[in-house]
Structures are given as structure tokens and as C-alpha cells.
Assembly symmetry: C2
Homo-oligomer: 165 residues x 2
């Protein structure tokens, strides 16, 4: 079966989710591949991914390379075949994606250098930038602890996964 015509609700979900991720800076093709695999009950080969999305093998190649780098996708060779299969990891990648992002750290570092450049928080400008920096520090701390709070909550609502608790 070739790439569908876009009216399959699952494919619609894949494309919409990918677009939404792309909106926050995630590579578009990588997102499409990620959600294609996520939406499949069984692991997919590169060819199957390309077929479902109607994109070239080259595009799939680049996307899976990107995704496997961060453990968002797992590649495993198919026994007695040259193909590889791709599947989702058991531990949810989105926790790490949200909590391990270095972007707030960058905000904080750059803002700190800004405070210095403005000769400390004495001037109006320096004070504004210092306040922003402090806010980002706060957010960073909150995000750091978010993953753990999530796991606690899941445990409380009876959603323990193997290895957790």
C-alpha cells in the first residue's frame, strides 16, 4: 500500500503533531518519522516509513540518524535481512526532551553576561535583565524537578512502569 492520500486519520495525526513540533524548533522530517513510528503498533523498516510518508529514502535516513542520536528512536537489525527496523523506546523520550533541554541554561548564561555588560543590576536596564535572568533560573529549577514530579504522580495513579518506583 502506497502513501495514503492524507485522509487517513492516523496519518492526519502524524502530520499535525509533526507540524506542531516543528513550530517549536524540532526538525520537521524527524518529527514526521517519529510520529509515524509512534503510531504504528509494530516496528517499521525505513522503506515502510518512507512509503507511509511519501518521502525519499534519503529523507528517512537523515531523520532516523537525528532521532536515534537522542534515543527517541531505536534501530534494530532484522535477523537474516539487511533491513533495520525502527521502534519507539520503552522509556518515554518526551520526558527527557522537555526536562533535559539546555535552552534555559543558555538563556541564563546569556542574560548573566548581559547583566555584566550593563554594569550590574544598578541601572534600570541592568535590573530588568537581572530580573529576567532570575526568572529563567526559577523556571530551570522547576523544569529540573518536573520529571520526578511526573513519575510520582504516575505512581500515585497506578501507572507504574517496570523499573520505576
Amino acid at each position: 500500500m502506497a502513501a495514503d492520500d492524507g485522509h487517513d486519520p492516523v496519518h492526519l495525526f502524524v502530520e499535525r503533531m509533526a507540524l506542531t513540533f516543528a513550530e517549536v524548533g524540532f526538525p520537521r522530517m524527524a518529527a514526521r518519522v517519529l510520529f509515524t513510528v509512534m503510531s504504528a503498533d509494530d516496528p517499521l523498516t525505513a522503506a515502510e516509513i518512507g512509503e507511509r510518508l511519501g518521502v525519499s529514502a534519503a529523507a528517512v535516513s537523515g531523520a532516523v540518524r537525528y532521532l536515534t542520536q537522542f534515543g527517541m528512536l531505536i534501530r534494530e537489525p532484522v535477523p537474516r535481512s539487511r533491513r533495520d527496523r525502527y521502534r519507539m523506546p520503552d522509556n518515554p523520550w518526551y520526558e527527557g526532551t522537555i526536562t533535559k533541554t539546555a535552552i534555559y541554561k543558555t538563556f541564563i548564561d546569556v542574560a548573566s553576561s548581559g547583566v555584566d555588560a550593563l554594569n550590574g543590576p544598578q541601572t534600570p536596564a541592568g535590573e530588568r535583565v537581572a530580573e529576567m535572568r532570575d526568572f529563567f533560573i526559577f523556571v530551570q529549577e522547576e523544569i529540573d524537578s518536573l520529571g520526578e514530579r511526573w513519575r510520582i504522580r504516575r505512581a500515585q495513579t497506578g501507572h507504574l512502569r517496570p523499573g520505576e518506583g
Copy 2:
């Protein structure tokens, strides 16, 4: 004084912060204008902004229109002059920028439609997507309360601002 050569540490901060914001999807020129004004002790006119950044009046015009829309920048006419001045709002725009973002809502909505498309959380794929949806719901709740927790913390550390408390 014309646009500096890029070695002014304040300008360096402006450009680096703007680049960092651009990385998470914020319009680049708008970010440059925002941090230029933020780094100035006094309000700036459109001409001054353009001069400091070395960009055209058109670029400034588009950027300030974008920024004032969300209250990240305040425009006020200069008495007995045709110029407008731009200054930072007193209430920090970044709180709202982070906490009022609709992006998690979109994640949740799209993921929900995905669960439906996959016939509920019974299948492996449906379960994965449902888990992701639940995580984003959790994050959304956390973000919703983040602004208030920040204000509480600021109050505790003696940083009350007018109107707060």
C-alpha cells in the same frame, strides 16, 4: 553614533539573546528590537533602535508592531514631536510569554485526536500516544501554576513589586 561594530558588550548581549530566542521560534528581528530596548536605560525612538541595530526603518516597524501586540513593548508618543518612543512594560513580559503559551494546549489537542484515530489506548500505538498526551497535560498544569509560584517566591525573598502581594 551609528550602529556599533559588534564589539560593544551590550550589543553583543542583545544579539546573542535574540539569537537564542530565535532558536525557540521567536521572530528574530522582533527579538533584536526587544532586547535593544530592554538594554537601554531610557525609552528609544524607532530611529534610535534602527540605528543601534543597523537595520531599516521597515524592519523596526514590523518588529514593534509584533511586540506591541503582545504587550512586550509599550509605544508612547513623544510630546510635541511626531516620534514615538518605545519602552519596556513594568510587568515582566516573560512570565506571560512562558505561562500563557498555547503550545501545550495544541500538543494535548492533537495528541487526543491521535488517541481517537488509533481507536483508544488499547493498542500499543494508542497507549503510547495516550501516555504522551497525559504527560503534556501534566506539563500544562505545572506551567499554569508556575507564574504564581514565581510571584510567591519573589515575595518571600523581598522582591515585591507594586500591585503584588
